[in-house]
């Protein structure tokens, strides 16, 4: 019987397989950041261990880093200590680090692909659940806890139970104005936050094949919000074209050997998945969340659901609690929801294509009175690229704030936070209670919807902007 893509990559990394034990998997790339690594380095020190493969390890600073005044000392003393701890640990153990201010610094899941370190068929881990992003290249990439970070540092391997596989086949074409973010939010709403639990998801089908690498990363990034530790997409010419010429991409004969291998990385026609979900892309429209988990979403054209409409008692209770926390009424249209803040950025939507999409919508328009819009590039390189294209000027002229790279308001570990009761439209990945700041209320949206929402002050799509223009006589 044929094998799935996930099974092929898995099998290629088995260091040891023994009856009654989890497989011991080799890890090709280990990404580190300041939040989930300090206790792991402490563990190494305590046991007199070293980092086994410094040449497969890289660190950057992203979660705590401020997005303003980055040349000044970090104001929050606790954040400062955490960043200093990473610097000290990397220096002591010899780990390559891109600290705040470095041209390669940025959100760890933006940095890996942009350097060409993330390649098809690799195993990639990081102490961060959004490591699933890297699966967009056709590798097996998953988030791990700090104990596992220590394990990988010490052994370059992880004992893992073989996961089940789920095919998510997206047939047809995405309609004009519908993005990868809308698609993944719709998938999560369909299968639920636990639907992918225990599975590696493989996204496939016509609509997926047409996506750019940036869009594929957006999809794989949010696999974890469907409960799946990893999501992946078979590599193809789009993947190879993205990689070619990047600093760590193979060169010369190595490139040819690599591409020959990468071309084998597809699920065989007779491979069997443990589960399969089929989505019709042509039925989709811009999608936003109304609740406090990423599965609580609906098309922008819909209304806030009535909790009483849920048959399942636990879902009903969850919806009731969500509406209470979000300050929403059942039945109000999603377009009637006004926001205070718009955040464009994160490992989900902080890449250059995302910034271009948001800039394209907002160009020549103004952020609505009383709305604050933050644009945070996913990495320093993305920021430089955006500046070279004049996108920073577009955002600033619209009244948005152009910031330095980092995780920023996605999780509010730095000063970029919502105040209690404040509401955001955010291109990030989690609408959990308090995620963007204590008492903050988050609606997950695409970069395009974020930009249109910033202009109109309520949840809106770019199509709504055009309609509003038609209603407004010229010169008014």
């Amino acid at each position: 019987m044929g094998r799935t893509l996930a099974e092929k990559v898995w099998d290629d990394h088995v260091v040891r397989r023994a009856e009654g034990e989890p497989d011991l998997l080799f890890i090709d790339l280990h990404l580190l950041h300041e939040v989930t690594s300090p206790q792991a380095f402490d563990g190494l020190r305590k046991n007199g261990r070293r980092v086994r493969r410094l040449d497969l390890t890289i660190a950057t600073e992203d979660h705590n880093t401020p997005t303003l005044d980055i040349d000044k000392p970090i104001a929050d003393p606790v954040s400062r200590v955490q960043l200093e701890t990473l610097r000290k640990n990397c220096a002591e153990f010899g780990v390559r680090l891109h600290p705040l201010g470095d041209v390669e610094q940025g959100v760890v899941h933006v940095v890996g692909p942009q350097l060409g370190l993330t390649q098809p068929g690799m195993t990639v881990v990081c102490g961060d659940s959004h490591t699933s992003t890297h699966g967009a290249f056709g590798g097996l990439a998953f988030g791990i806890g700090t104990s596992q970070v220590e394990h990988v540092l010490a052994t370059q391997t992880l004992p893992m139970a073989r996961p089940k596989t789920m095919a998510i086949t997206v047939d047809g074409e995405l309609p004009e104005g519908v993005t990868a973010k809308d698609l993944i939010l719709a998938i999560i709403a369909k299968i639920g936050t636990g639907g992918g639990q225990g599975y590696v998801l493989e996204y496939r089908g016509e609509a997926i094949e047409k996506l750019s690498m940036e869009a594929r990363m957006t999809i794989c990034n949010m696999s974890i919000e469907a409960g799946a530790r990893a999501g992946m997409i078979a590599p193809d010419e789009t993947t190879f074209a993205y990689l070619e010429g990047r600093p760590h991409a193979p060169k010369g004969e190595d490139w040819d050997a690599a591409v020959a291998y990468w071309k084998t990385l597809r699920s065989d026609d007779d491979a069997e998945f443990d589960a399969e979900v089929v989505i019709d892309a042509s039925e989709l429209s811009p999608f936003v969340t109304w609740g406090t988990n990423p599965g609580q979403g609906a098309p922008l054209s819909a209304s806030v659901p009535d909790p009483a409409s849920y048959e399942d008692a636990s879902e009903r209770l969850a919806a009731e609690k969500a509406l209470e926390y979000m300050g929403l009424e059942a039945g109000q249209t999603l377009r009637s929801i006004n926001v205070d803040t718009v955040f464009v950025g994160s490992c989900t939507n902080g890449r250059i294509e995302d910034l271009r999409a948001a800039a394209d919508v907002i160009k020549g328009r103004k952020v609505a009175d009383g709305v604050r819009m933050l644009v945070v590039p996913g990495s320093a390189r993305v920021g430089l690229q955006a500046v070279s294209e004049g996108l920073d000027v577009v955002f600033k002229e619209a009244g948005a704030e152009w910031r330095h790279a980092g995780c920023s308001m996605c999780l509010g570990m730095n000063p970029d936070q919502l105040a209690p009761g404040e509401r955001s439209a955010s291109t990030s990945n989690r609408n959990f209670e308090g995620r963007q700041g204590k008492g903050g209320r988050t609606h997950l949206v695409s970069p395009q919807v974020a930009a249109a929402t910033a202009v109109l002050g309520h949840l809106a799509s770019p199509a709504d902007l055009a309609a509003a223009d038609d209603r407004t006589p010229a010169g008014v």
Binding site: V15, R16, G20, P22, L24, D28, L29, V35, T36, P38, Q39, D42, R49, L54, D55, T57, V78, T85, R96, G116, L117, M122, G127, S129, G143, I144, G145, T146, S147, Q148, H151, A154, T155, Q156, T157, P159, T193, G194, Q197, A228, H248, A249, P250, D254, W255, A257, A258, T292, N293, G295, S314, L411, G412, M413, F432, E433, G434, R435, K438, G439
Partner: protein
């Protein structure tokens, strides 16, 4: 890791689904660089409500958390496990755990037990009606016991063996160091390196 064999204690019934790790321990606590001192951050936002179940005096000293489905979703932060342990929890029962949280818990000796939602419902009813009711989580027998209830649970034999003996994963893996070296020797040369030789 501390070994886990069997534990008996009073329970905290948490009637919520999708308890994500941001609720278990909010992000601002993640700036700490230690594995301890997270107890005050556990469910920090919800604990501001005096009626929240963890704040009820009759729940003081409880050690078994009985939660709704999809417990521990979201972020991979192991701090969520540390916070539960720092607070005093020894076991968590739910009908479904997020994968990363589950893995993290078992590596720290916090036993996460998967039981059918009907049994979770029964445990909620029992411990809400009688806060002094005790729950026993027996890893040797692989069962959960409470008044009028005896529920077997599954846990793979390898994870159980490591928990029962409090074994350290890294030491176990390093026993197979030769296998790792053999694998490394045959890795293709086109695979990327972060450092240039």
């Amino acid at each position: 890791m501390e070994a886990f064999t069997t534990h008996t204690g009073r329970a905290v019934p948490l009637r919520r689904s999708n308890v994500d790790t941001d609720q278990i321990i909010p992000a601002h606590w993640l700036k700490k660089v230690t594995r301890d001192g997270f107890e005050d951050g556990l469910f920090e936002a919800w604990r501001k409500d005096p009626e929240f179940v963890l704040n009820r005096p009759e729940r003081a000293g409880a050690t078994v958390l009985v939660a709704g489905p999809d417990f521990g979703t979201g972020s991979s932060r192991e701090h969520a496990v540390w916070a539960l342990q720092n607070y005093g929890f020894k076991a968590v029962i739910s009908s479904r755990f997020a994968d990363i949280f589950r893995g993290n818990s078992l590596k720290n000796g916090l036993l996460t037990v998967v039981l059918d939602q009907k049994i979770v419902d029964a445990l909620w009813e029992l411990t809400e009606a009688d806060p002094t009711a005790e729950i026993t989580v027996d890893l040797e027998a692989r069962e959960v016991r409470a008044e009028g209830l005896n529920a077997p649970f599954e846990l793979d034999e390898n994870a159980r063996w490591r928990l029962l003996n409090g074994l350290d994963d890294i030491s176990l893996t390093l026993r197979n160091e030769a296998d790792i070296a053999a694998y490394e020797a045959k890795r293709p040369s086109f695979k990327p390196r972060t450092l240039t030789a």
